[in-house]
């Protein structure tokens, strides 16, 4: 689980953070303006490719993607 959190956090920082802002596991990503609605698409695809899962579109909500911790809960729900 810690590995997954770190992997996702690292991806988020590398992909979306263009200054030295700190991102924690609980930092609000969507509501905090770090990840916009367009960019959720690449995050979803990254997770699906990385963890060999398929997240239904209706589960890929802004709320479900709003922090690293929440994303981990979502990914774990679809891990076999």
């Amino acid at each position: 689980m810690e590995d997954m959190k770190e992997i996702i956090k690292k991806y988020v920082i590398n992909e979306y953070v263009e200054d030295d802002s700190e991102v924690t596991y609980d930092t609000p990503l969507i509501s905090g303006g770090i990840v916009d609605s367009f960019s959720m698409v690449s995050l979803k695809r990254f997770l699906e490719n990385k963890y060999k899962i398929s997240i239904p579109d209706d589960k890929a909500t802004p709320d479900a993607f709003d922090s690293v911790n929440k994303i981990c809960v979502l990914v774990n729900a679809y891990l076999k």
């Binding site: 263009e18 960019s39 698409v41 695809r45």
Partner: protein
């Protein structure tokens, strides 16, 4: 629903909020034709002031060129004022087809379709040629009209960091399973004045079998040795699948735009693009004016050459007096001030000195990236630019920002 006091109050509250936040936009009334020197009424009711305009998209100085004005008059006389119809019913004249052919030849593409504006071209193109099985991968700084167009399209949308080719390649790999991939960029970015790495993008598109889209609104007519645009500058004429551009900037400055590119994609627009299907096209006098513009630009590179020289003079002049500008070689030259209020204060003081230039700040540009965006024209003479430089120097001295670093300016004025 009646327009009740409650509804009125709801909107008034929003508008007041914009004013409180300092982002309420005010128009300044120009009483002359668009040119290097204009007469401005500002604030409303003030006496007219003659100022040098360094914030128009009038890159080639053709907005009020006598030959273009004359051609528009003649077009008005010969083809009338309006069409009162969309293109495919009874809204297509011979001059619309002539202009489409001329644009195709000028840009070095296969075919062209006119739109009422480039905003409409960008609103219509993606939905017309892509489906939910496809992906659009856009630079993060593309123009707002492209973002709106992508929102209207069912294809997946992803972004890459501004001009970051390694990141673009990652995204092309990530989405390699899609039916079609389209890479989307501006040729020249309107806020920073930098140029897309179109040659590298074209190579990546070849490698990953992707389409390449480029908005050339701030490039057509003057970027590249003969002014064909960013694709000419980057040596990739014929390798961009879709170009959109406007006739509202360098190419005469009136209105109208187009999609130009692969003939099948243009035909898809003719069949499916909603702004084309459900709106009148460009009015006859404007079409006649743009035809004259393209005749002028095809006959000689004199105007884009003058613009290039003016741009070099301006960029060097601003740097020499100690202001920070964004790197590049285009006529869009942002003078970086970083602080929003400082950008407004400098703009106001420049106006007092007879120079019309506007401050841009968040949300138009990122936080702490406030600036005065200057735009140079072939219509400027060196004495205009010298006067503008003197004004920048005087105002820069007043605010003690000449020769200062970004950090020093931020320490004085905040972010």
């Amino acid at each position: 629903m009646a327009y009740t006091d409650k509804v009125r109050g709801t909107y008034q509250e929003i508008l007041d909020g914009l004013k409180d936040a300092g982002i309420f936009k005010m128009e300044r009334y120009i009483h002359s034709a668009q040119a290097a020197e204009i007469e401005v009424e500002f604030p409303v009711g003030a006496s007219l002031k003659k100022v040098i305009n360094i914030c128009a998209n009038n890159y080639l100085g053709l907005s009020s060129h006598p030959d273009v004005v004359k051609a528009a008059h003649e077009g008005l006389d010969s083809h009338g004022y309006g069409m009162s119809s969309v293109r495919f019913i009874c809204g297509t004249q011979d001059i619309h087809k002539k202009l489409e052919g001329m644009v195709t030849e000028f840009l070095g593409t296969e075919d062209t379709i006119l739109f009422p504006s480039c905003m409409d071209a960008n609103a219509g193109i993606f939905e017309a040629v892509l489906t939910k099985d496809d992906v659009m991968i856009s630079d993060r700084l593309v123009h707002a009209s492209i973002i709106d167009g992508m929102r209207l399209c069912s294809a997946l949308h992803d972004t890459f960091k501004h001009s970051d080719m390694a990141h673009l390649e990652e995204k092309l790999q990530l989405h390699n399973d899609k039916r079609l991939k389209m890479v989307i960029t501006d040729g020249v970015f309107s806020m920073d004045g930098d140029t897309a790495k179109l040659d590298q993008m074209a190579d990546l598109c070849d490698k990953y079998d992707a389409l390449l889209f480029c908005d050339e609104s701030h490039a057509s007519g003057f970027i590249g040795k003969t002014g064909r645009g960013t694709h000419e500058k980057c040596g990739i004429m014929g390798r961009i699948d879709i170009i959109t551009t406007t006739f509202g900037k360098g190419l005469g400055g009136a209105s109208g735009g187009c999609v130009s590119g692969r003939k099948e994609l243009v035909e898809m627009c003719r069949q499916k693009a909603r702004p084309y299907l459900f709106s009148n096209t460009i009015a006859p006098p404007v079409v006649a004016g743009v035809i004259k513009v393209l005749e002028i630009l095809s006959a000689t590179t004199e105007r884009r050459d003058k613009l290039e020289k003016n741009t070099e003079f301006w960029r060097k002049g601003l740097t020499d007096i100690g202001l920070i500008i964004k790197d590049g070689d285009t006529p869009i030259v942002p003078v970086m001030l970083f602080n929003a209020k400082l950008s407004q204060d400098v703009s106001r003081d420049l106006y007092e000195e007879g120079i019309y230039a506007i401050g841009f700040f968040f949300p138009v540009v990122p936080q702490s990236q406030a600036r005065i965006r200057t735009q140079i024209s072939a219509g400027h003479e060196i004495h205009h630019l010298e006067k503008a430089l003197a004004a920048f120097k005087k105002v820069g001295q007043k605010y003690n920002i000449l020769g200062k670093t970004k950090q020093e300016i931020i320490e004085m004025y905040g972010m």
